[in-house]
């Protein structure tokens, strides 16, 4: 195999007002012709900076390349002229960006944006370039490319825009394609389409790909080689099998164990703490402070890269000959994990329900006569002590459902009962207060869910103040202190302001605020989707522990079906304002009945390269229809592989098997 790109000992830093951020600290890797290297890491690990350095797209005024080489085809990119680099960019190396909503120029037609690249590098006429653009758009799966070239980005859906971004990147048959989180901003069914497209392009053109991502499932699905980045360094590198199956670095272990395994039922491992601040990176191994197997030397000397095999290297002192054999230590921690192994999913079939949702509708008035039917006739119940997961893609109405149950919206129709009593409409003040206390909510965005002008103590105590739960100022203080301890925060943080905390810490504060009023039910609206993988596991574990200790009932709303599967006892699947299937988790995983559920489950890549290799995906064609104007009858019929004439009628919600509900004409 011939190396195409070699990055050697690259150091990149940024000059900011706060000081010099050492974003990339000695990175080495090689990409061979035709292979896919995945660089995995959490936010701030330096993976995006590395990829932009290869493209020479870092901002001139603040970024500096301190040392190292980037050899593309043997020539050092850091030393060539701007002009030369321009001729490499877009023709030899091309890039696909994360957010298709912002990556395209809003005031230029799609055709021109694709043709621009061709014209720049191939010196052909405008007309010929436009013709090429049409061919490329056809290649990336844009229907009717000849008419769509004249349209503007806002006339395309998110998935289609990402296809256009890919079209721009591959327009000149680049030898290296850098894809920076290419599917992070997309729904899972669309993600499956895009990953498929990237693979197909690679098969046809033989391009090498560098895939930057935080999603280990995507890595297992796409990569030949994996490099794991932490705090500006590559800590482990190897073939996808080596990294997933014989990982040597404790950070890699932690990452792999902090994502739910679809088969096993064990407690999620969560890496404690947060990544270091790269303004002043720690001496020694940057991961040491979060590493339970850290040795004295880890705090003193940076570990070098140890070779495990010809293709597998890892930067950890554990590979040094003098390091102790960890198998005994690891076994004991495994036993520890074993002990805390999650209780088996209880059968909640016979438990009383605490919340009943009956034909709930919530329509939003848009302009003129149009209504957005965000939730359109949804019925289910939540049983005491269970976790009900609600999944679906963007615009399916899952958050609106949660907020309407929470009484943040008045429903357009239908009713919600709490302990048998309706909660909407005119209530007596004391009833309203009681419901407000018994039901609480955790929000998605840890940055927006805390008032920036309030100290932590006042945010957490808000419910205590409203319902007058504290007898005195001291009492209030004690309660808050206790709550902070429960969610695992230092009680000394009480007088701090939200902006001083990391995302995970803020989410804990939000949880403490909800717990302050001793609720029975907590509606968690995408509580982890804004967090890094290792932090997600922390929050999910916290939620599970709390449920166990305080007898809570959860409605867990998320788009990440693997996390929902992990935490939920039962799962409801929503599509365009309708509930299409509802079943106990195991049942739903093993025997999904609705074609949409099947596609959704199939679309999620698992962090297991063996499974991913042999897997046949159901790839849905087309985009999510406009929720303002959903299809009649079964709303899924426009994308359903089994759609038939009958699907123009609205399917009935029926119990196909005990406790397994579905709305589909295929199920009789």
């Amino acid at each position: 195999m011939e190396p195409l790109l070699e990055v050697k000992d690259l150091y990149v830093s940024f000059h900011t007002q706060a000081g010099v951020v050492k974003a990339v600290r000695g990175v080495n890797f090689t990409v061979n012709k035709g292979e896919t290297l995945a660089i995995v890491g959490e936010s701030g690990s330096g993976k995006s900076v590395t990829s932009k350095a290869i493209m020479q797209l870092l901002p001139d005024h603040s970024a500096s390349y301190d040392s190292g080489k980037i050899l593309f085809d043997g020539q050092n990119i850091l030393e060539i002229s701007d002009k030369k680099m321009e001729s490499i960019r877009g023709s030899d190396i091309a890039m696909v960006f994360q957010d298709p909503m912002t990556a395209l120029n809003p005031t230029m037609t799609i055709g021109k944006q694709v043709a621009e690249s061709v014209m720049r590098h191939e010196k052909i006429s405008k007309k010929a370039a436009l013709q090429r653009a049409i061919e490329i758009l056809d290649l990336v799966g844009i229907p009717e490319p000849a008419t769509r070239v004249n349209q503007y980005p806002h006339q395309f859906s998110g998935g289609m825009r990402q296809r256009v971004v890919i079209a721009i990147a591959i327009a000149c048959n680049p030898r290296l394609l850098i894809a920076d989180e290419p599917t992070t901003a997309l729904d899972v069914t669309i993600q499956a389409q895009i990953l498929d497209l990237l693979k197909e392009i690679q098969r046809k053109t033989g391009t090498s790909i560098i895939l930057i991502t935080h999603d280990l499932g995507v890595v297992a699905n796409m990569a030949d080689k994996v490099a794991v980045m932490y705090a500006g360094k590559i800590v482990e590198e190897g073939t996808v099998e080596e990294v997933f199956e014989q990982s040597e670095h404790p950070y890699t272990w932690g990452l792999l164990k902090s994502i739910p395994n679809l088969e096993a039922n064990e407690q999620l491992y969560s890496i404690p703490g947060t990544p270091p601040d790269l303004l002043s990176p720690p001496v020694g191994d940057a991961f040491a402070a979060r590493n339970e197997f850290a040795m004295a030397i880890d705090y003193e000397v940076q570990p070098p890269m140890f070779a495990v095999s010809k293709t597998h290297t890892a930067a950890t002192w554990l590979l040094h000959e003098k390091a102790p054999d960890l198998s005994t230590v690891i076994q004991s921690t495994e036993r520890e994990l074993e002990r805390t192994k999650r209780r088996d999913r209880k059968d909640f079939a016979k438990t009383d329900s605490i919340i009943q949702v009956h034909k709930l509708k919530k329509h939003f008035h848009m302009s003129g006569n149009s209504y957005l039917k965000a939730v359109d006739g949804v019925s289910f119940d939540i049983r005491k002590g269970e976790t009900l997961g609600l999944v679906g893609e963007s615009g399916c109405g899952k958050s609106t459902t949660g907020r309407t149950i929470m009484r943040l919206y008045e429903p357009t129709g239908g009713e919600v009962y709490f302990n048998g009593k309706p909660i909407h409409g005119d209530l007596k003040k004391q009833d309203e207060n009681r419901i407000r206390q018994k039901m609480q909510m955790i929000f998605q965005d840890p940055y927006a869910s805390l008032d920036p002008r309030k100290k932590v103590i006042d945010s957490v105590a808000e419910g205590i103040d409203i319902h007058k739960l504290a007898a005195s100022v001291k009492d209030r203080r004690d309660i808050v202190q206790n709550l902070l301890e429960i969610v695992g925060l230092n009680k000394g943080f009480m007088n701090r302001y939200p902006h001083e905390f990391s995302g995970g810490q803020r989410q804990r504060i939000g949880i403490a605020r909800a717990l302050a009023v001793n609720p029975d039910v907590i509606i968690a609206d995408e509580p982890i989707s804004a967090l890094d993988v290792s932090i997600q596991a922390q929050v999910v574990n916290l939620l599970k522990d709390l449920q166990h200790e305080q007898d809570l009932t959860y409605l867990f709303i998320a788009h990440d079906i693997s996390m929902v599967k992990y935490i939920s006892d039962r799962i409801g699947v929503m599509y365009l304002g309708n509930l299409v299937e509802l079943a106990p988790t195991d049942e739903l995983s093993k025997e999904p009945l609705h074609p949409y559920t099947q596609a959704l489950l199939s679309a999620v890549p698992t962090p297991n390269p063996k499974i991913e290799r042999g897997r046949e995906r159901i790839i849905l064609t087309g985009d999510l229809p406009n929720p303002m104007n959903p299809p009649t009858g079964c709303r899924f019929r426009t994308r359903c592989p089994y759609a038939m004439e009958k699907c123009k009628e609205t399917p009935i919600w029926k119990e196909a098997k005990p406790n397994h509900f579905v709305a589909c004409h295929l199920i009789e």
């Binding site: 080495n28 090689t30 404690p272 703490g273 601040d277 303004l279 040491a288 402070a289 979060r290 590493n291 339970e292 197997f293 850290a294 040795m295 004295a296 030397i297 705090y299 003193e300 000397v301 070098p304 140890f306 070779a307 010809k310 293709t311 290297t313 002192w317 040094h320 003098k322 390091a323 102790p324 009484r407 943040l408 207060n433 407000r436 206390q437 039901m439 909510m441 929000f443 998605q444 927006a448 869910s449 805390l450 008032d451 920036p452 002008r453 309030k454 808000e462 419910g463 409203i466 319902h467 943080f493 007088n495 701090r496 302001y497 902006h499 001083e500 810490q505 605020r513 909800a514 009023v517």
Partner: protein, 319 residues
């Protein structure tokens, strides 16, 4: 990966790096996990720090303080009053007796300028406070009640916005007798609209924020939401906008006086003085120069200070 690469990764065991207990497992560091990277600084203090980093804003603040002080004390620093005439001493260039010279009636310019500054500042302050009061109330009602009420209130604003402000002010002043009160009222009648729009859009933005939803989910009453969340989170915007209103009110007053619709002699305001100075500028340039310096100083400093405050209070800057 080639073998040469492998060699490179081999450990060089430098002398003295490894100790006996170097490879003993000591585990994660609990305390360092639980820290906050940034030092603890309160919000007000942080904003203040950011403001003081802005040289332009600091200098402006100093100059404004100085001018305000002079406006308050200046007229009492010599024995003349602003309306006291002395025809024998008309058109005297600045000298030891009359620091800024005298005008066509022999009135002391020093006294008149600071008297005028005081009146101009007074009008500007009064107008911006009234703008603020009306604008905040109107804007927040519009946003908080929403629906039809909001719709009607917005239509009213649209009609007002459709008329060029100055024309409306001129008409209003013609209707009432010129004077400090009239000018202020005329400015407020058009000026509050801007504040109302800003407050409305800010409250609308806040309304859909998750921390407001969280507060509502906890059962917060509207009164509590306003007191605890809306006001603190709009205050910065209001202050900044008020800072921009002051110079524009100073300008409007001067403009009106300049075209003869503002204050009338012998009262002094910066506009009146500039008008006087303009008429006598051919032979006595100093009559134009000093009031011009004061008004330009005030306008520039208030603008710079407002800019600085906006940057200092903008939550977007805080990460």
């Amino acid at each position: 990966m080639t073998n040469t690469n492998l060699e490179k990764y081999e450990v060089k065991e430098t002398e003295g790096v490894f100790r006996e207990d170097s490879f003993k497992v000591v585990g994660a560091k609990k305390e360092s996990q639980d820290t906050i990277a940034r030092p603890h600084v309160g919000i007000l203090k942080e904003s203040w720090l950011r403001l003081t980093k802005n040289k332009g804003a600091v200098v402006s603040l100093v100059i404004i303080s100085l001018l305000v002080l002079l406006a308050l004390l200046g007229p009492y620093m010599n024995e003349y009053t602003y309306e006291q005439t002395d025809y024998d001493k008309a058109f005297q260039e600045p000298n030891g007796e009359h620091w800024f010279g005298t005008d066509k009636f022999g009135r002391d310019q020093w006294t008149r300028i600071w008297e005028g500054t005081r009146i101009s500042l007074y009008i500007a302050l009064l107008a911006s406070v009234l703008d603020l009061a009306i604008g905040v109330i109107y804007g927040s009602i519009s946003a908080l009640v929403g629906g039809k009420v909001d719709n009607i209130m917005q239509r009213i604003i649209e009609v007002l916005v459709g008329i060029p402000n100055l024309i409306l002010i001129i008409l209003l002043i013609m209707l009432m007798k010129p004077g400090i009160f009239t000018i202020t009222v005329a400015m407020v009648i058009t000026g509050w609209v801007n504040m109302a729009r800003l407050v409305r859009s800010q409250v609308f933005k806040l309304k859909s924020q998750e921390f407001i939803l969280a507060s509502r989910a906890l059962g917060a009453s509207n009164g509590r939401l306003i007191k605890e969340h809306f006001i603190p989170n709009t205050l910065g915007l209001i202050i900044v906008n008020m800072m921009f209103t002051i110079p524009s009110a100073i300008f409007t007053e001067a403009f009106l006086s300049f075209i003869g619709l503002g204050l009338q002699e012998p009262l002094a305001s910066l506009g009146v003085l500039i008008n006087d100075g303009f008429e006598g500028m051919r032979n006595n340039f100093y009559l134009l120069l000093y009031p011009t310096l004061v008004i330009v100083g005030l306008m520039i400093c208030f603008n710079l200070l407002a800019d600085g405050l906006r940057d200092a209070l903008d939550p977007k800057m805080r990460k």
